[in-house]
Every structure is written in structure tokens, then in C-alpha cells.
């Protein structure tokens, strides 16, 4: 039923309007005093005000403005009565409609009716609006809570996010959450607006157990549960007031919490006002949504546990090797020393027969210690613990070195040992000592398995990637190739290897059954070690052989430029890093501003990093751009801040005294800023460019 308020001091006009409206069954109310107007509007649910603009003691435009300033009154419409002879523009700005005096009854009715229709639409609209706003708020909470869910792998936190989200969207009075962390750890988390009485706490425990059992109806329950097993966690907002059993009469919502498809817990909320349909939907959605992140959290926990176990195993293995090597080496030393003393003749005369057997003992002790060393090498290189010292150099130098070492031995066996060296071989990154180890192994095998008057040829050459016979590289998954390689081959005219044995050549302890190889001894570890060492150089090793014709072992090592090597090292460090972060730095000298600062600055930039960290760093200089890149394994946010501060103090001259340098730098942290080397380098470049433009 609409009610119209008539405001004006002209009794006659008021009377006309009243009569007209009452005849159309519209309730009216007339007032002539401004003070009464607002009060009566609030008390009488007015839909429309008809205000006489000519009234002397009421200012219509002020009344309109007042109305607009109250949110709950802003939807009330105002119809102005104006005289045609006066300037009424000001009033028209604030009123919704007008009619001219003298009042024409037909026009009045038409205008009032259309105003009332408009009012009705407005009311519906604003009601929809407020419902929409509430839904929007709930959606917002849902969205935020989902985002929180996605960002956490911690079960406890996820449950807290859930309760928090429900609190925000439903404003519940009390909630309890029963969570089965494990068979013997059952938590009852109570979140309440007010404190809770002793007997309420007990009832909540009982209710939780009953709800839990009810969930499974007559089916078998996954966990046995007893009131005394429940560990209660209380979060109370206003502890001064207290809820008692009456809270259980409040409106309530209830849902199970699942981890994937498995039961994990349950939640019930109570509120003093009734829950709407939207509230229920929101509640069910959140309770359902937490399931997936909880499952992820469970999986993550499992993976973490497995990882810890694996790491422990790995550690045990390397400890074992270290202990074994220590325990074996000490008695070996004592045996060897004793033999040496006797062989030296200092303990008395040694007969030729004694000498023969003492010598045999000593030879075998030496062999045994060789096996121990090989074993240690293999364990180390397999665990990625071997330290390599990669430096730019030519592969020719280890080849020549090994050839010289074996010259005498070859001569003794009457074997021709030749080399075909490519003097123009490009330099690349090699650990000369380790490559000597590899080449020594290959040549020593060749000497062992080649008969008298045989021939051994060592060749070095450059080879493009397309010329590599890739089918010969066995046991390599998804090989990656660089443009150019250096290749070393050791070719002998020895006894050869049977085709079916070739795939076993690089396996551990795999000495091909052959009387000659048995006689020639060896640990069976030399080739697997060689393979690992070559692979650490990002190269490949393979073998070609024909029985009674000879064998050729070849390996290739990529020719890398500084940049490629740096990126490879970075990727490798990322792969190896388990718990620690890697910090990547790019420092650029701003040459446009300071063209003269050169060498000294470069050295300083390096020392900034060297001085600030004590871990191993890897550097790479982009000479043409005056850039230095470095990465520091085992860095953290603290190290990042520290280095940034250090560079800043250096560039402002605090570090160097009076000199100021113009340096740009960027720091990125793995895994925070990217998951692989490419992303990190790209990000570092981006940040640097941004710094340049600023």
C-alpha cells in the first residue's frame, strides 16, 4: 500500500490533492512544518512526497538534499508543485517530477501514478542490489579462500583457511572442526565468538563423535575414536561472555571434509540467525573445495618423506663408502709397509724365491688399493660429488701426455704407438686431469689387449654434430647436441670385442669373459668411470670393434663458448639443488655515462661478490657488453639483500672512497623467479633493462 506525504502551507491546494488521491485509494498525510517531515517519513513508510515549492516555511530543495543524504531514504521520490511565474530551475535539479499550479486533477493523478510505479521498480531494484552485494561478498570470500587453498601445502593451514573463510562469509557464532591427522592425533578445533562453558565443550565433543559416526551410517568407520583421545584447540574472540548448551539450538550447517575421496574430518557451524540458501551453498562449496588442496598436501607430505628417506639413504651410502675406504686403506698400508721393509733387505737377506713371492704380495696390494680408488671415484662421480676443474684448453695436451707415459710400455711389448694430432683443434672447457684419467684407461686397455707387433693409433680431430654416428651412442636417453665437437679415438689392432658384448662394455664390474682379460686383471671399473667423466663434460663415449681385428674407443666433447658453458653450469646447479636457492646476478657497467671506467671496475665487481659470499660462485663475462654474470649456489633472500646493498654502497662511492661508478645490476633467485636457467637469465635481462630505462 503506497502512502503519499503532502508538504505545503496552502490548505486549499493540500485539500485538493488529498481528495484526489484518497478517491484513487491512495493513503495520504499532510504536513506543514519542516521539522516534522523527516521524522514522519521514517515512521510512516512514505513512498512519495508532494512538495509545494512555493511554501514559505519549507525549502523544498533543502528537503530533497536531506533525503538524498540518508541511504535508507534516498529511494523516496519527490514531486514538486511549482508556479509557472517563478524561476524554479533550482528545485527541478533535485526533484524527480513536477506539476504546475493550479493543480489539474488528471495531470496530478497521472504523475502520481507514474511516480508510484517508478518507486516500486526502484524498491525491487535496490533489494536485488543488496542481495547481489551480499552474494558478491560471499563470492569474493570464496575466491580469496580458494586462492589461499591453492597457495598452501600445509594441512593445518588449509583447515585454518577454511574456518576463516567460513567465518568471513557466514559470520557464524560457533564452529567446530574434527580433524583426523593420524590414528592417534585427533583435533577438535572450536572457533567461537564467545567463550564456551565446560559442559558445552563436552557436548561438542560428543556431538562431533556422533556426527562422525552418523556420516558412515552402518558402514565401517575409518578411525576408532574416544572422547579422551580428542585434543581440543579453542579460538575464542570474546572470552568475557560465554555460550552454554543453548547454542546447540541455533541454526546449523554440517559437512564432511575429505582428502581426495578419503575421509579426513568434519565441520559444523552454528549461527543465531537462520542460514539462507546462499549461505548453505557457500558453506558446501568451501567444504568441498578444500578437498583437492588437502589431497595435494597429503601427496606433498608423502613425497617429502620419501625424499628425506632417499637423502638419508644417499648419505648412508656415501658414509659407507668413506668408512669402507678408510677401514680398508689402513690395513692395506700396514701390509704394504711390511712388505716394503722386507723387500728393502733391512730385515735380513731375501732369497730369490722370497723376493718373488713378496713381490707378488706387493703387486696384489697395489692392485687392491687401485680397486678401492676406482670404487671411490665411481661413487663420487655418480653422486655428483666429484669436483671438476673445468678450464679452457686443448684436448691435445692430455693426449700427448698419456702417449708419452705409455711409450716405454708399448716398446716393451713391441707395439707401435702413434698419434695423429690436429694442431688447429679449438679450445673448450675440460678438466685436463680427469681427461688424462680417461685417455690413460683407454690406452692402457689397448696396450693390454693388443698382441706383439700390433699397432695403436690415437687421433684427435674436430667434428660437426651432424657427422656423429648417433646410432653408436647406446645407453643415452634423449641426447642433446651442440654444433661442434672435438673427438679423440684410440684404435688398436687387438683381440677385439664380440658384438654381443659391446653393450656391456661400460657396465660396472663387467669384464668380458675372456681368458685374456682375466689374465690381464683390471677392476672392471675403468670404463664406467670413463663414461661418467666424459658425460660430466657433456660428451659421449662409444666403442666399435671386430673380433681379431681390433677395437676403437672414441669420445667427443662439445666445443662451448663462454655463454653456453655458463648456462650449462647454471642448469646443472639448478638440477642438483634440492633445498637451497641459487642467486643469479647480472652486473652491467653503464658505459654511456662512464666510458673510461674499465678493467678496474670489472675486478671490483667480481670482488663485490667474492667478498660478500663464501660459497663457490661461477662467473661469466660478456665482454662486448661489459657485463658480468655470476651465480651463487646456496644463496638465500638474505644473501640477495646483502649483495644488493653492497653493490649500492659501491656504486655510490661509499666502498671505494671518492670514486663513483655507474653500475646497473639485477638479482634473481631460484626457484622464486623461475624454474630453469633460461627463465632466470631472461628475467635478469628484463630487470636490467627496466633499470636502464628508469
Amino acid at each position: 500500500m503506497s502512502k503519499v506525504l503532502i508538504v505545503g502551507d496552502d490548505e486549499k491546494v493540500n485539500k485538493i490533492i488529498e481528495t484526489t488521491l484518497t478517491n484513487s485509494a491512495i493513503e495520504t498525510l499532510s504536513l506543514s512544518d519542516e521539522d516534522d517531515v523527516l521524522k514522519s517519513i521514517e515512521n510512516n513508510h512514505i513512498s512519495l512526497i508532494i512538495a509545494d515549492a512555493g511554501a514559505k516555511n519549507i525549502d523544498t530543495s533543502i528537503l530533497c538534499r536531506k533525503l538524498k543524504s540518508y541511504t535508507h531514504l534516498e529511494n523516496i521520490l519527490v514531486l514538486a508543485l511549482i508556479s509557472p511565474d517563478r524561476d524554479n530551475l533550482d528545485i527541478l535539479k533535485t526533484t524527480n517530477a513536477y506539476i504546475q499550479k493550479p493543480v489539474n486533477e488528471k495531470i496530478l493523478m497521472a504523475t502520481v501514478n507514474s511516480c508510484l510505479k517508478m518507486k516500486k521498480s526502484l524498491d525491487i531494484l535496490s533489494q536485488n542490489n543488496s542481495e547481489l552485494a551480499k552474494s558478491l561478498y560471499q563470492l569474493d570470500v570464496l575466491y580469496n579462500t580458494s586462492a589461499q587453498f591453492a597457495g598452501s601445502l600445509d594441512k593445518q593451514k588449509l583447515i585454518n583457511f577454511l574456518i576463516d573463510g567460513l567465518d568471513k562469509s557466514l559470520s557464524f557464532s560457533l564452529s567446530y572442526t574434527l580433524v583426523f591427522n593420524s590414528e592417534d592425533k585427533i583435533d577438535l578445533i572450536i572457533n567461537s565468538l564467545n567463550g564456551i562453558s565446560q559442559r558445552l565443550e563436552h557436548s561438542l565433543k560428543m556431538r562431533a563423535i556422533l556426527s562422525y559416526k552418523a556420516l558412515f551410517d552402518k558402514k565401517e568407520i575409518p578411525y576408532q575414536i574416544d572422547v579422551d583421545d580428542i585434543n581440543v584447540i579453542k579460538n575464542i574472540k570474546h572470552p568475557l561472555e560465554e555460550y552454554d548448551l543453548n547454542i546447540l539450538k541455533f541454526d546449523n550447517l554440517f559437512a564432511p571434509i575429505k582428502v581426495g575421496e578419503k575421509f579426513f574430518g568434519l565441520i559444523e557451524v552454528f549461527r543465531d540467525t537462520e542460514f539462507t540458501q546462499e549461505d548453505t551453498t557457500c558453506f558446501q562449496t568451501l567444504a568441498r573445495q578444500v578437498s583437492l588442496p588437502l589431497e595435494n598436501a597429503a601427496l606433498y607430505e608423502e613425497i617429502k618423506n620419501t625424499n628425506t628417506k632417499l637423502e638419508k639413504l644417499e648419505r648412508l651410502k656415501s658414509e659407507f663408502t668413506s668408512i669402507v675406504s678408510h677401514e680398508l686403506r689402513t690395513p692395506l698400508t700396514a701390509i704394504k709397509n711390511s712388505l716394503d721393509i722386507m723387500l728393502s733387505g733391512k730385515t735380513g737377506e731375501v732369497t730369490p724365491a722370497m723376493n718373488k713371492f713378496l713381490d707378488m704380495a706387493k703387486r696384489n696390494v697395489t692392485r687392491l688399493s687401485g680397486i678401492i680408488n676406482d670404487l671411490l671415484d665411481l661413487t663420487k662421480v655418480e653422486a655428483g660429488k666429484m669436483d671438476f676443474r673445468f678450464e679452457k684448453g686443448s684436448i691435445n695436451s692430455p693426449v700427448v701426455f698419456v702417449k708419452n707415459t705409455f711409450e716405454n710400455l708399448a716398446k716393451e711389448k713391441n707395439i707401435t704407438l702413434l698419434t695423429k694430432i690436429d694442431q688447429s683443434l679449438p679450445e673448450t672447457y675440460i678438466d685436463t686431469q680427469r681427461l688424462e684419467q680417461v685417455i690413460t684407461n683407454l690406452v692402457s686397455n689397448a696396450v693390454k689387449f693388443t698382441n706383439e707387433n700390433g699397432k695403436i693409433l690415437i687421433t684427435t680431430e674436430t667434428i660437426p654434430a651432424f657427422a656423429i654416428e648417433k646410432e653408436k651412442l647406446f645407453d643415452v636417453e634423449n641426447p642433446v647436441f651442440y654444433d661442434t665437437y672435438v673427438k679423440v679415438s684410440v684404435k688398436d689392432s687387438g683381440i677385439g670385442i664380440a658384438q654381443e658384448d659391446i653393450p656391456k662394455v661400460f657396465d660396472k664390474f663387467q669384464q668380458i669373459e675372456n681368458s685374456l682379460s682375466r689374465k690381464n686383471g683390471g677392476t672392471g671399473l675403468g670404463l664406467p668411470i670413463a663414461k661418467q667423466l666424459i658425460e660430466a663434460h657433456h660428451g659421449y663415449i662409444w666403442v666399435e670393434s671386430e673380433i681379431n681385428c681390433g677395437t676403437t674407443f672414441s669420445f667427443i666433447i662439445p666445443v662451448l663458448n663462454e655463454k653456453e658453458k655458463f648456462e650449462l653450469d647454471l642448469s646443472e646447479a639448478i638440477q642438483k639443488s634440492k633445498n637451497s636457492n641459487i642467486l643469479l646476478l647480472k652486473i652491467k657497467e653503464n658505459t654511456t655515462a662512464y666510458p673510461s671506467v674499465s678493467r678496474a671496475l670489472k675486478e671490483n665487481k667480481i670482488s663485490i661478490i667474492r667478498k660478500t659470499t663464501n660459497t663457490k660462485e661461477v662467473f661469466y663475462e660478456e665482454n662486448n657488453e661489459n657485463c658480468i654474470m655470476a651465480f651463487i649456489p646456496e644463496a638465500d633472500k638474505f644473501a640477495q639483500n646483502f649483495i644488493e646493498k653492497k653493490i649500492e654502497s659501491f656504486t655510490t662511492g661509499a666502498e671505494t672512497g671518492s670514486e663513483k661508478y655507474d653500475i646497473l645490476y639485477s638479482t634473481v633467485l631460484f626457484p622464486d623467479d623461475g624454474n630453469n636457467a633460461q627463465d632466470l637469465l631472461k628475467k635478469a635481462d628484463e630487470l636490467l633493462k627496466r633499470g636502464q630505462n628508469e
Binding site: 678408510h326 689402513t330 700396514a334 709397509n337 716394503d340 721393509i341 728393502s344 696390494v365 688399493s369 669436483d387
Partner: protein, 124 residues
């Protein structure tokens, strides 16, 4: 002829100590032996040897600690120390250098090598 040079051998492996002692005495040196770190340190301070051969892994006080304690004491810092160990990791060598060890030999070693090193320090 001057008095024989004194060498202190500290190792918990008696057999190793025996063989070293035998060879060094044959070379004309006077040898003292200790079988754990604590005794080794006491003996070192007592006799002030011309050279020490020291094992790393020993009960009570390990070789690094002995080396550090002696090298930071002006009275003993000039005693050359040859460290003998079964470990060959690079970092062990680094620790050895930091604690002032003069030479580092890994087991199993050649007796001739040790005698050569000893002579280098005592007969220059």
C-alpha cells in the same frame, strides 16, 4: 756427528707406527710414538720433536686439532707436520692447509715417499 733428529709418530694404528718407526730408525732418526691424540700432544710438548707424522682420525683429539694447537703456539709452530690420512677428499686437504699442516700424504703410502719428505725437512 750431531745428535740424532727426533721424530714423533702419532697414529692409533700400531702396525703403521711400527713400520714407520722401523724404517725411520734405519735411516738414523730417533723415534717417539703415541697411539692417541691426547698422548701425542703431551709428548710433542715434552720432547719438542724436529718433525711430526700425524694421523687424522684418532681417538680423543684428532690430527687437525693437534696441528692447530701446535701451530698457534709460538713455542711449537716451527715443528714440521706431515699429515697421513686415508681420506683423499679435496676439502680434507683444505682443512689440513688451514690448520698449518706442511705435507699431506694419503694412505696407502709408499714408505719411500715418507722418508723422502722427512729428509726434505730435516736435512736441508
Amino acid at each position: 756427528m750431531s745428535e740424532a733428529k727426533k721424530i714423533l709418530i702419532v697414529d692409533d694404528e700400531q702396525d703403521i707406527v711400527e713400520t714407520l718407526k722401523f724404517m725411520l730408525e734405519a735411516e738414523g732418526y730417533e723415534c717417539f710414538c703415541a697411539y692417541d691424540g691426547e698422548n701425542g700432544l703431551t709428548l710433542a710438548k715434552e720432547i719438542i720433536p724436529d718433525l711430526m707424522i700425524l694421523d687424522v682420525m684418532m681417538p680423543k683429539i684428532n690430527g687437525y686439532k693437534i696441528s692447530r694447537l701446535l701451530k698457534y703456539d709460538t713455542k711449537y709452530k716451527d715443528i714440521p707436520i706431515i699429515m697421513v690420512t686415508a681420506r683423499s677428499q679435496e676439502e680434507d686437504k683444505l682443512i689440513g692447509q688451514e690448520t698449518g699442516v706442511n705435507e699431506y700424504i694419503t694412505k696407502p703410502f709408499e714408505l719411500d715417499d715418507i722418508i723422502k719428505k722427512v729428509k726434505e725437512y730435516l736435512e736441508k
